[in-house]
């Protein structure tokens, strides 16, 4: 008991404090916790280190008065039994944390994604949706007063309608849409790519907000979703899903060229196979975290591609550029979830690039 109190207890506290502070300063904490909770880990780590020192320095003797009874008291424990049990308890307090800190990778594997199941409905991830809602609210106040510009002209696509009913017949499905066909990018795509003169101020005049694709005009009227120098809106997986339930926000993405990152989830992954192919269609995944990695939710959107197939690892980080289309969900893959008339975003990919994992692997 005395050994426990004097050596093992401070040692355990020292280990916990040390690991907490190490994870904070090495940045590894980003793989485990929401940014809001990270400072708490640092403070706790430092306080634990101080506590460990206090416990080590100020021993029982600090109670400096003559009570020899304390020795009797301690001796009345059955020593060997306690020390074995005590040592076991010490091991449980000490080892799992150290081992987990050693072996833990910085992101989840495909196995977890399979077990948790993919979320493709924004109603399940409202934390993420609300951050987006604040963005689009300011948009609404800014541009709703004037008539919002008509988004896509040629095909009379549903974005000008208030509701998304009857879309299936009229929306050109991406596959049939010759304008959005990726393998042969038209000149209209190519133009914005050299980022030179007009890229520096692409949004000064209204006509810079429009893009001509074939005979369709796409207008980027949302001041918060401006295309970058390669003509793409930077979007996240949750943005696309959020827009699926809001006809107004959907307009900000429908038919637009976006750039998006995420991890590869092949459509039909054979159990145990390490490699995945990006032919035809696959899913692009981000993990959404509320508090910590234990509650991380895999959120995904569908990507369709005509690009030559690439073979890579499951969960490989990808950057995909392409156009977004909202199409009705098929009953078959809804898993019994009632999506109502909420459409499903599909990215028709122009380019797929392997990238290394970003600093922040989660969406919050």
């Amino acid at each position: 008991m005395r050994i426990l109190g004097r050596i093992l207890a401070p040692l355990t506290l020292l280990e916990w404090g040390g690991i907490l502070t190490y994870f904070y300063f090495s940045g590894r904490i980003a793989a485990f916790l929401h940014p809001m909770f990270r400072p708490l880990v640092l403070v706790t780590g430092i306080l634990l280190l101080i506590t460990a020192l206090c416990v080590a320095i100020f021993r029982e003797e600090e109670c400096a008065h003559d009570h020899d009874h304390s020795e009797d008291h301690e001796h009345s424990h059955s020593h060997d039994k306690l020390s074995v049990g005590g040592f076991l308890a010490f091991l449980i307090l000490f080892l799992p944390l150290a081992l987990a800190a050693k072996i833990s990778p910085d992101s989840y594997g495909a196995n977890l994604i399979k077990n948790r199941g993919l979320v493709e409905d924004i109603r399940s991830i409202p934390g993420a949706a609300s951050s987006f809602a604040s963005r689009s609210k300011s948009i609404a106040s800014g541009s709703l007063q004037q008539e919002p510009p008509v988004t896509i002209t040629a095909d009379a696509t549903p974005s000008s309608r208030p509701k998304y009913i009857g879309v299936p017949e009229q929306t050109p499905l991406p596959k049939q849409n010759p304008d959005a066909e990726p393998p042969l990018p038209s000149n209209d795509y190519e133009q914005p790519i050299p980022p030179s003169p007009n890229a520096s101020s692409p949004n000064d005049s209204p006509q810079d907000n429009t893009e001509v694709i074939g005979d369709a005009v796409v207008t980027y009227e949302n001041p918060f979703l401006k295309p970058n120098k390669s003509g793409c809106i930077k979007a996240e997986v949750v943005d696309l899903l959020y827009a699926a339930q809001e006809p107004f926000t959907r307009k900000d993405f429908e038919g637009k060229k976006i750039e998006i990152i995420g991890q590869l989830v092949p459509n039909k992954s054979k159990a145990g196979s390490k490699s995945a192919v990006t032919a035809g269609s696959f899913k692009l995944l981000r993990l959404v975290m509320v508090c910590c990695a234990a509650d991380a939710m895999p959120v995904a959107v569908k990507v369709q591609t005509k690009l030559p197939s690439m073979t890579m690892h499951d969960m490989q980080w990808l950057k995909v550029t392409g156009r977004v289309h909202y199409q009705p969900r098929s009953k078959a893959d809804s898993d019994g979830v009632d999506y109502g008339d909420q459409p499903e975003p599909v990215i028709v990919a122009d380019s797929i690039t392997k990238i290394s994992a970003p600093q922040e692997k989660y969406l919050y």
């Binding site: 009570h67 009345s76 424990h77 196995n111």
Partner: protein
Amino acid sequence: MSWFTFNLQDFSISFLSILFEGVPFMFIGTLLSGIIDAFVPSETMEKFLPRNQIAAVALSGVLGVVFPMCECGVVPVIRRLIRKGLPVSCALTYLLAAPIVNPIVALSTFAAFRGQHPGMVTSMRLLMGFGVACVCGLIVQHIPSRALLNRPMLASMRKRSTPSRAHSQRVHEPTLAAAYAGVSSERNIVSPVVPAEEIVHLHDEAHAGKRFGEKIVGAIRCAAFDFLDVGFYLIIGAAIASVFNTAINKEVLLPLASNHLLATTGMMVLALLLSLCSTSDAFIAANFLTFPLTAKLAFMVFGPMMDMKLLFMYGLVFKKRFTFSFALGMFVFVALLCLTLAPFLR
């Protein structure tokens, strides 16, 4: 499709993240416990609570609004408060209600259920949490604390009947020994505790006029040992929770959704196994789109009151037999309550 696929790396991420999430709050709890131990005199509790026992329990139930605590931090505080003379019924009510009836949880529940009747779900969750906690508190009022509390707790309770207001360092160390010795070694403590009663008395009188600095050191030492006490159970709970958190395929649960009884009990078992923090569990519950609302409510009411880590932590305060029968009783109670309410929630 296999329903259980264990992966050590996924497990370690989940395990560490539960610890990183829980440890700061647990540490706040143990610091508070240390400070209460060193600075709060025992008689304050009686003065503070209303005389009427029902009112006292009800007050403990809403105390979480003023002193929000999550379930990791609340156990060490409660343990200390019981030693300082808080009636077990009130302590239990606060223990159960505080992780649910608090503003942070209300906000996160509201946010999580956006689009799924957020106002109704949030108020139902808070009301049910409060109601269940109060009912448990009122029932426990009629059980003698001898049948509720574990032996180290009882020993320190007996000590409290002496007029001394000094701290109880001598007494909490047997509990640490229990933690270090594992759950089964409770009998190791039995023999020293009874004579310790006398010793404590002498010891505390010697401490009666302590200086501030000594009190601080006492508080820190006390917090440190409390931390190890509770941390031991947090580790075991986090490990078990992480196995289920990462290895179980969620699809096996989906067929339960169509049956109210199966969905509700299934979600409650899930809450027990996943051991999520009460601030984030609403987001997981909201994710079960196909499940009836009552099942999600049961998940969110039962989870913060009883889960793997709490089951172990409650053992630091209560008798093992009481903890298990209490867990079972609460399970049945919350399930029945939710199923009774089911027709009214559409």
